[in-house]
Symmetry: C2
Subunit: 482 residues, 2 copies
């Protein structure tokens, strides 16, 4: 502790002096230990009040130099933030946004992103090189703000062919992925304090974007067949939302899909009450049954639905190409928002993706990944069905990349998350997807985008071990879940 120089005779409060001392030591990387001394120890050895130390630590935390873990202590924040395996509620948004990476040794039931072995890399390499030969420097100019014109054409065709959806190529804006679509729509439609509706639970990346614009966010419950229309109606009358954000097929995280009636009712409501529907589509293509799913956009005759497409989960995330459809009335404003966001998306990648679609690779690719994922899905569901005796249940999505697992009521998903992490299994606690501090804390999301068939079996074994514990520990203090 001889490192600290406190001067009781100056005007500067002691806690500020202590803060400054720590700050310098951290910046100069002079502290051996990642963990700061305990409050009591430090206060004693410096001959100051506990409060002085607490205040200094608080200030350090506020300024981003340290972070604290409840019941454990205060730690220096390394740049970049390292993997931490123990999750506090405050860290959940970090984890979901990928800032806290998942430990490499874990079996990854947390991620939906595909692995490189499923990327159509040969074909894509071919079109990438073809574009270089064909267009040379033209591929590296600023493309039109709305996107590379032929790609807009291919996408219009793609929509017709695969989703039975008619959208003129002039009404398509190419974005740098689906997330950017959300960001641009937020910029166009949300002013601070505006009210918007989302399904509850929903995709946390969307919540982040909406919050960043200062939206007042209302969550509407979602059921097996779609959003709760009755609840929605009563909320609409009360709040008059700017828009409703939904995922109609294999919703994240619930995996639920809208039936036709829910879609139709929703569309009529949006027309009647004049709010837009933002339809985020990232998985429609991944159906494992015979019934092809269609987006809500396919029946939108009122120009009320803004369709956002992400190709990250069904193609390759690193291509960073997605698109949105432009309602007539918002055309100009959305284009402006795109411009202030990043001027335009990479023309080179747009040109390559255009060729990829034009040369007809898409269909084969989707068939291929569907075959792989439906096998994983089968393994997952068979394994999970065996766990029903421990009180867990779920609704079979018959498509997509996740299972939304309901645990017995008295289980908190954060505890399960932590127990899984300790045992080398990464899952996502359901809580991170809810708008409010939800009472529904007994859900977890298990995804099979990143894992091998062997890992599915091993992962489910670990999970079973954890959730069956109360049943095995009859003599212990545990109460059984149910």
């Amino acid at each position: 502790m001889e490192k600290f120089k406190l001067n009781k005779k100056t005007d500067t409060p002691l806690y500020i002096q202590l803060y400054e001392n720590f700050k310098t030591l951290i910046e100069e990387d002079q502290l051996e230990n990642e963990k700061l001394p305990s409050i009591r120890n430090l206060a004693n050895s410096l001959g100051v009040n506990n409060v002085t130390v607490v205040s200094a630590y608080k200030l350090l935390e506020k300024e981003g130099y340290v972070y604290s873990i409840k019941g454990s202590g205060t730690y220096i924040r390394k740049l970049p933030v390292d993997t931490i395996s123990y999750l506090e509620e405050g860290d959940m948004d970090l984890m979901v946004s990928g800032i806290l990476p998942i430990s490499n040794n874990s079996i990854n039931f947390a991620s939906m992103s595909p692995t490189p072995d499923l990327f159509p890399i040969e074909e894509f390499k071919r079109v990438l090189i073809e574009v270089l030969d064909r267009d040379a420097g033209l591929a590296f100019l600023y493309p039109e703000i709305t996107g590379y014109d032929p790609l807009r054409g291919s996408i219009s065709k793609f929509l017709k062919e695969h989703y039975n959806t008619v959208v003129n190529k002039e009404q398509i804006l190419i974005t740098s992925g689906g997330q950017q679509g959300l960001d641009i729509i937020s910029k166009t439609l949300i002013n601070p304090g505006d009210c918007i509706f989302v399904e509850n639970p929903t995709y946390s990346g969307a919540l982040g974007t909406f919050k960043s614009r200062g939206a007042k966010i209302i969550g509407i419950p979602i059921n097996e067949n779609g959003i709760d229309i009755i609840a929605l109606k009563s909320y609409i009358k009360k709040y008059r939302p700017k828009f409703l954000y939904i995922m109609t097929n294999y919703q994240s995280p619930t995996t639920y899909s809208y039936d036709f009636r829910s879609k139709e009712e929703l569309l009529l409501l949006s027309k009647e009450y004049g709010f837009y529907i933002i339809e985020d589509d990232f998985l429609t293509d991944l159906t494992f049954s015979e019934n092809k799913k269609m987006p809500l956009k396919s029946i939108d005759r009122f120009d009320q639905v803004i369709f956002i497409k992400s190709f990250s989960k069904i193609f390759m995330p690193g291509v960073r190409i997605g698109f949105i459809t432009l309602p007539n009335k918002l055309f100009k404003e959305i284009i402006k928002a795109k411009h202030t966001t990043d001027i335009s998306s990479s023309g080179y990648l747009q040109r390559a993706f255009d060729l990829y679609l034009r040369q007809g690779y898409w269909k084969n690719h989707i068939e291929k990944i569907k075959a792989v994922y439906s096998k994983k899905y089968k393994l997952m569901t068979e394994g999970l069905d065996r766990l029903s005796e421990y009180g867990v249940s779920y609704i079979k999505p018959d498509g997509g990349l996740s299972i939304w697992l309901k645990l017995p009521k008295n289980i908190d998903s954060i505890n399960i998350y932590n127990e899984c992490a300790e045992n080398g299994l990464a899952i996502v606690p359901g809580k991170v997807f809810f708008v409010d501090d939800s009472i529904y804390s007994n859900y977890i999301r298990l995804s099979f985008g990143q894992i091998s068939n062997e890992e599915i079996i091993e992962g489910l074994r670990i999970l079973e071990n954890i959730i069956s514990k109360p049943f095995r520990d009859k003599e212990s203090n545990y109460l059984p879940f149910i």
Copy 2:
């Protein structure tokens, strides 16, 4: 006019009915003429008041179906917005943001973007293919949010080597171009109503982004040697800005560069009053004299400067790769803002750019484009010097891609813009860069990023023709400018 069905007996006001009629006709593409009937004609033939027609047209305009040109009439807005050669003040932001493209037949003195013949396409093609062979699918995963780690390393080295600037690779965030850097910083630092400072005049793309966050924007005059420090000081005391946005070298649009003293004073002020400095660097490399320019970041010992780099004007705009430096205190928040913006930038292009830098192509490339541009610069300045007899003047930047031309006081740059456009010359009227409805309307920006040497000579001939007119028309009604 038999197309219109108005019903005077219902509750719906006539102008709403007329609006609905037009809306349907426009949506169904049933109007032959792009121009709507004149107000008087339509009112007469429908037997309604002029005001009814005016109100209907206003509503159509508000909803984006039509636009009006003062003194000319009201026109259907085609999607996408077409080139219009005649500029109204309200369209200026559209033009600057590239939504109104420049006619292909014009000599383009408006754009700073380089042409493909200056792109190092052979070398870049080589690294693009090398990445595919080396990394295959890995290149198409989501990269780390902060960017591809080796590229962050190369950029740290690049900063040291070319700008004498020490920034740890952990403090670098890769962005999808410089504009995205501005957007991410805005999200991190601006809450609605926050006050920020900019140079006046400044880059309109930055203004767009700041406005979109609801910032209160104050413009501080910029002089030949940098921002007006005295004005700045008095404004700081009054407004306490969140940050000051500047371009220290070859500022856009003025082309002025900061001298050392201005940089140093600025840095001390930012430390004293606790505001960040956002340094947007897009041209530092393009010096035509012996004196190498350095960014303000190179002397930043307080972690007060956020350095944003755009490679669009000195490399290739379509690569969409730029970076920003991360102050320690904002690290976590900026990363979160990046995530809500587009998750991460294309890993494939990041990997290729990394190889490009590592393999040492940069220096040659810059030397090559400097040689080309300095020749164009010489042609421009020699030509413009000959125009001084008509009362135009400018300060020689000795670098960069533009000239900021001062016209005689009584000339409005919008008029000159329109006259130039009519004569096949695209320029940018100075007005679009000012924060306020400025009295400084007698500036135009002439850029030589897109034009050949022959076009420079021809363009200057056209310009001379226009600005010398009052001098030639001695007998006419014109008063000479000076």
